[in-house]
Symmetry: C2
Subunit: 547 residues, 2 copies
Amino acid sequence: MKSTMMSAPLSISTLAEHGAAYSSDRAVVTKTETGWRTAAYADVVARARRLANALEDLGVVGDARVGTFMWNNQEHLEAYFAVPSMGAVLHTANIRLTPEQIAYTVNAAGDRVMIVDDSLAATFAPVVPLLTTVETIVVSGTIDDAVFAGASQRVVSYEDVLAAASPDREWTVVDEQDAASICFTTGTTGNPKGVAYSHRSIMLQSLATSAVDALRIGNNDTILVAVPMFHATAWCYPYSGFWAGADLVLLDRFLAPPTIVEAIETFSVTFGNGVPTVWNDVLRLLDAEPDHDLGSLQRLVIGGAAASESLFDGFADHGVDVVQGWGMTESSPLVTVGRTSRGVDAETARRQRLTQGRVISGVEIRIVDQETGEPLPRDGETIGEFELRGPWIAGGYLGVESDGPADKFHDGWLRTGDVGTLDRDGFAKLTDRSKDIIKSGGEWISSVDLENTLAGHPAIRDVTVIGVPDEKWDERPCAVVVVEDGATVGAEDLRTWLVGRVAKFWIPENWVFTTALPRTSVGKIDKKLLRGQRADGALDVMRETGR
Amino acid sequence: MKSTMMSAPLSISTLAEHGAAYSSDRAVVTKTETGWRTAAYADVVARARRLANALEDLGVVGDARVGTFMWNNQEHLEAYFAVPSMGAVLHTANIRLTPEQIAYTVNAAGDRVMIVDDSLAATFAPVVPLLTTVETIVVSGTIDDAVFAGASQRVVSYEDVLAAASPDREWTVVDEQDAASICFTTGTTGNPKGVAYSHRSIMLQSLATSAVDALRIGNNDTILVAVPMFHATAWCYPYSGFWAGADLVLLDRFLAPPTIVEAIETFSVTFGNGVPTVWNDVLRLLDAEPDHDLGSLQRLVIGGAAASESLFDGFADHGVDVVQGWGMTESSPLVTVGRTSRGVDAETARRQRLTQGRVISGVEIRIVDQETGEPLPRDGETIGEFELRGPWIAGGYLGVESDGPADKFHDGWLRTGDVGTLDRDGFAKLTDRSKDIIKSGGEWISSVDLENTLAGHPAIRDVTVIGVPDEKWDERPCAVVVVEDGATVGAEDLRTWLVGRVAKFWIPENWVFTTALPRTSVGKIDKKLLRGQRADGALDVMRETGR
């Protein structure tokens, strides 16, 4: 029996116009070389309408793809609204990949137009000759003729095409299951794989993550969007924030602790977010410059990697609530949020907050045996691979046919590749990426737990743990450590630190001291590279430079 | 271009299982004759699975309709989960209608099974002979053989059929646009009209109303569901509350101020809701018994009629935040919520809170000229009829074909029949129901504003204003007043009270004093009945008894 309800689709244009109409004066702030520039919501959406008309003039019709190669800024936000609302598809290219990888994603998405920040023109230049589908490059800012001299594409100015475009635009009525934007995973194996988010998945993720038990995004917030807009739609913050009428602060190419702290103090930011490294560095700055006032900042959502206890405690000293979130490109991305459950005692609350969080309303989660695929108990102890199902979870990759049960997608579930425990209240605790698992003498060692325990040592600035081959135990953990400036610590000190804090057989015999950990394009530690370096003997060289 | 996201539907079964899994110990509390009974979420859903199997045994297959004739209680909640989750359709019959109207709705919906509270058996008895589609009556509680002696239907016990049913049930995978439940409007003209909510509309309404800028429903809440579960899915509170893992308190047939206050004090209720009359009566009780402690109660959502300033101020004295909400059966029901917008001064905040609220994320609102249908400016002054569009707004009535632009539904919008202003921030202020508008000498008089202003007079307990024919001005307002016990006030006193508070030409010459105002089945003042009584001269008789 059909309902009698309207079939009105969930669409990004509705959200954009809601913000423009009812929060017209709210601010979108972008960092510049010399200060900050601010635009009102109504102006951002008015410019998005012009952008859509300009793109149409440039040949963007139907579901044509429009790529962006941009920082977090107002113009990128305009593309976030204009492209999906006109029925086209936004592809946020990852500026951290190699030129070959970038070109691969742009060609695979079939981008017809690329919008490029002028500050990224030099980075983009080596990509240009590799492009097979792009007809027009739209430069936001000043066009450097030297950079684009050899380009076969038409090169135009963002502001010029906006000025020439009509201000009037009726948005396209979309099918909510149609693609709104594309993001490529940054997997360390093989080519990047594309996920095409739908209007529906983005709107539902925005609504669900705004909930009280998730991120509490509301009209009184000022959101520092510190996660990159080129990756996983910046956790949908540009959308959920705009829907609520929150002020948005975007740092362009200036994502560094002094700018972050300046943004918080200048705009009374209430809500921050990002990977642990960024905020560990902010803590370090606050230690060095204790006069800063973070009074406005209420909460900090940490994702991409586990937040250590020292990060929780460090921000608690500044009155900031650290909340972990977990997800991935394929899950829009948020699936769990580290809110404690009702009525628990302080110790349980702390334990819950140190997990990756509790599954939020609207998505299903389970753990399964990695070999048999059988669901495992939610007892907080049994370890298995997390699987996800729901309206904002990917069911496939762009242009990739499923090839059976060993695939990433099976029986309607997404295999996440993340391994850990799930408890009866829905809290997920990650112990490892499945590919990073260390199995020693038949027993699992959690690299995440080892890393978090080591991160609590005051002399450690950064640390990761990888598995290395071992004749007797098959595999043993190897800790790769960056020591705080001015501190001195040795392997025996750290082994002593671990005694009583982790199981005895977890304690590594292999220790490497280095100056910095290699990271992927989205800021995660590149364990694959480290394992390769270790196999090549390169890590032993790094040890010398580290001490 | 299709997205690569899963097509997982929004469904009530997912919500039910989410609550049962991750908030298994949370409580559903029901008032009884002698006290309170409590069931855990996991048990409620386990019983819902049994109920679904029992209903299937009784012939409920496919999209068969199952009616309820019940108070707010645990068994009603079990039906809320079981019926839509098995792919059938719940019809919450309105226990306040006449037997003929009730039978009309049950027959029109085509209910095959009716679940009836034993405490409502006598009310239901005169309906039974009029039913044409019901095959089985399931009695929750004790079966009174005398009541059902003449019934041609099979009569069985709720607990008996549950006990006999299998506990195992896989829920049906639904199309989210399919009907989940049916509610009939309680319009005072013609037969009731059916709205069939979809899984999608209910899930989206539940998510959207839970938002920070709406009702902030979360895991830490204890919700007193004081709005009837037989009407508009009780504002989806049973669903949104369950999704969040909030405790739910249901008052069965004991909705009265002493029970409400007892519930708040016993279960530390955080969130209350209902029509103004109910909560005005609670205020009166608190005045009489000042030792009560409402410390847990954070917010009170008032809908169904405008909340007066005295209701706001009265609860502010108890530390309770009164929030207005507006909507109707056709809008699931919530569309606006009286949250103030960011950064406004105290006076603006008060003005905003006295509107019906701000349009929430996910739905569109506009006002149009009632004659031409043209959209009108959002200036907070121009008066027009509200129209709505969005995924939880009805696009038609059950079994009723649209008959053109004069219809309730046109151009994809719902005509609400409510008249008022909309401002630039999205705040809607109702001045009247279109059918209750008073037009005096070509100028509109807002009965809602007149009522609210009169309600502020300390001697007035309840008041409404209707239009009455007038030779000179076409129409003039007539105030119908219920005076507080022990107070004395006359028409001249009240006319004096209005001077300077409303426009001079608004001040009524016609005054009626009575002991109680007639109300519709959902607690709204029945102005149509009053206008009829006035025309028949019956109101003049009431005047005598009122003084």
